[in-house]
């Protein structure tokens, strides 16, 4: 497969990858630091390139409900936003999960709470991996750490969304959204014209009608449905966990991180090794499903773990749950849009784990 090499911003890579993945519809609302996605799409006239529909909605609420409508027709549809806008989408996401519809949602996270800052953060982890909206449901969450992965995870995200009929979120941040890197882009995929049997495409004569709904007034049936969702999430945990490891084989101390923080940690590992400290890194690519098993295994070989994330400490709770107290787990993070340095990471590792 011949891939085209381009120099792009992370946000642009998502947009271009969406057109090339055969996406049928994008619905979004401007917000920094992700507006380039909608801007790039409008500039590219995907309607002429592939027939893809792109619409600037009146709000994030409208955009996610447009995604619901398009997904209900069996179409490959997506939306993108940043933290405050993603909060507005939560009811819609809950409906999409409850109606078992596939879609892709991109969150280019900025610091909060409230209007917060337009600078990058990783403070929407809980919202992304624990459900976010009301009711028992999960999103499958992918965390890219490069512009290349921003592009690659669009296609992967759609694939997983349709495999599980579940919303998939790309959880990124303003660093990766705004930075430019080289990226290899896949060739154009054709948009699918297939009529999926669960989708509303007009009831063909002589066959059953299709209903897209998340409503079930019979509690017994609702519980059966809840169990079905749980089974789906367990299957994701068995089959879809993705991580990348750096120098974990002989590591005494483990950094656990994702997205742009993981890139900083990678540099921190090199610096620590140069000092003679045996530090390794596990970079989480899927945040849900969470790599519980692998962390549990690593807890058997390391002396301690430090979760590094640009938040007050969110992912660290899942790390603690995974290792069940076998080794000490601490957190290091900067907030408010401050990006940690590799030196700070090592310093904190020394004071919080190695020295303590």
């Amino acid at each position: 497969m011949k891939r085209e090499l381009r120099l792009m911003k992370g946000n642009e890579a998502i947009a271009e990858a969406a057109i090339r993945a055969g996406c049928d519809g994008y619905f979004g609302y401007p917000i920094t630091p992700q507006s380039e996605i909608l801007e790039y799409l409008m500039e590219e006239k995907p309607h002429e390139r592939t027939g893809m529909v792109v619409l600037q909605a009146e709000s994030e609420v409208a955009a996610i409900n447009m995604v619901y409508g398009g997904a209900g027709c069996g179409k490959k549809v997506m939306t993108s936003s940043s933290s405050p806008g993603i909060s507005l989408k939560q009811e819609g996401l809950s409906y999409i999960a409850g109606a078992e519809l596939p879609c892709l949602v991109v969150n280019i996270v900025r610091g909060g709470p409230g209007l917060g800052t337009i600078q990058p953060a990783q403070s929407d982890y809980f919202q992304a991996v624990k459900g976010g909206g009301h009711g028992d449901y999960k999103l499958l969450v992918l965390a890219p750490a490069s512009v290349q992965e921003m592009a690659d995870f669009v296609e992967l995200g759609f694939e997983l969304a349709f495999k599980y009929r579940n919303p998939v979120m790309i959880l990124s941040d303003g660093i990766i959204g705004q930075m430019m890197e080289k990226v290899y882009l896949n060739p154009q995929k054709e948009r699918s014209s297939e009529n999926l049997e669960w989708a509303t495409t007009g009831k063909p004569a002589g066959s059953e009608r299709t209903i897209i709904t998340s409503l079930e007034l019979d509690s017994a049936k609702q519980e059966v449905f809840n169990q079905k969702l749980i089974d789906k999430y367990r299957e994701m945990e068995r089959s879809e966990v993705r991580v990348e490891e750096f120098q974990t084989e002989d590591a005494d101390y483990l950094l656990v991180s994702y997205g742009s923080s993981a890139r900083i940690c990678q540099r921190a590992v090199d610096l620590a090794r140069a000092e003679g400290l045996k530090v390794g890194l596990i970079r989480l690519i899927t945040l849900f499903p969470f790599p519980k098993k692998r962390l549990e295994e690593l807890a058997g070989s390391v002396k301690g773990m430090m979760a590094v994330e640009m938040s007050a400490g969110q992912m660290v709770e899942d790390v603690m749950l995974s290792v069940c107290g076998k080794v000490p787990v601490v957190h290091f993070g900067r907030m408010g849009g401050i990006i940690p340095t590799p030196e700070e990471v090592i310093e904190n590792l020394k004071t919080k784990i190695i020295g303590g």
Binding site: D24, G25, F27, V53, L55, A57, E58, S59, V61, A62, A63, N65, M66, V67, Y68, G69, G70, G72, C73, K75, V77, E91, G92, Y95, A99, T200, T201, G202, K203, P204, A205, R209, T210, I211, I212, T213, S214, L215
Partner: protein, 259 residues
Amino acid sequence: MSESFDKKSMIDEANLAYKKSEVMTENVLSYCPGCGHGTAHRLIAEVIEEGDLQDKTIGVCPVGCSVLMYNSLDIDMQQAAHGRAPAVATAVKRLMPEKFVFTYQGDGDLAAIGTAETLHACNRGENFLIVFINNAIYGMTGGQMAPTTLPGMRSSTSPHGRDTILMGNPLKMTELVAKLPGTYFVTRQSVHTPAAVRKTKKALRKAVEYQQQSKGTCFIEIVSNCPSGWKMTALQSNEWMEENMFPFYPLGDIKVPEE
């Protein structure tokens, strides 16, 4: 349906004024006796059947008493979040432009929580039909004040009558959307008498025709009753509607295409 209810023995074919549309399912309607929702459903089903549109229709019903509309109509349907049907329908129509798409929304849905989605869909001129059931109350949740509740009208959240200084004025969404460039056909009808039913059906037929020509948004308000929410019998509610609702929400076409 209960076994003891034998339609054949109860309904003599010779006396039938009309037949149940093939586009209605056998499911029992979930509405209170005398409620206008059921009649409105029937008319939509008939128009779909007459237009041979069953395989081309995608309906969107949001939250409200009509949330279970998909149990009554034998067509593909999507159930939308409260207020969001016009956003859902926007994507359905844009991604399936050859289909006939409609939303069916209550007044709480369309004129309160979903005001933005409704106005913007109409303003963009999305090519679908909005059927707006205005019963001046929140039926499903037990009779609370709606954006369309009349001044002085009682509801469970305006138990002393709607005080417009405290609670604001009723919103005439239909007049509002008629002003927008995206709407093509805007009318206000009712379904409480045989004559009114015929007029509403005619309006629905026109809307279906205009939709097929992709002329913009069609908007049909049906001023309707809510005997349970209004705490009246079905007959009383229809009289009350004529005396109180129609003067405030006058029936008739508001925006018609230039011939």
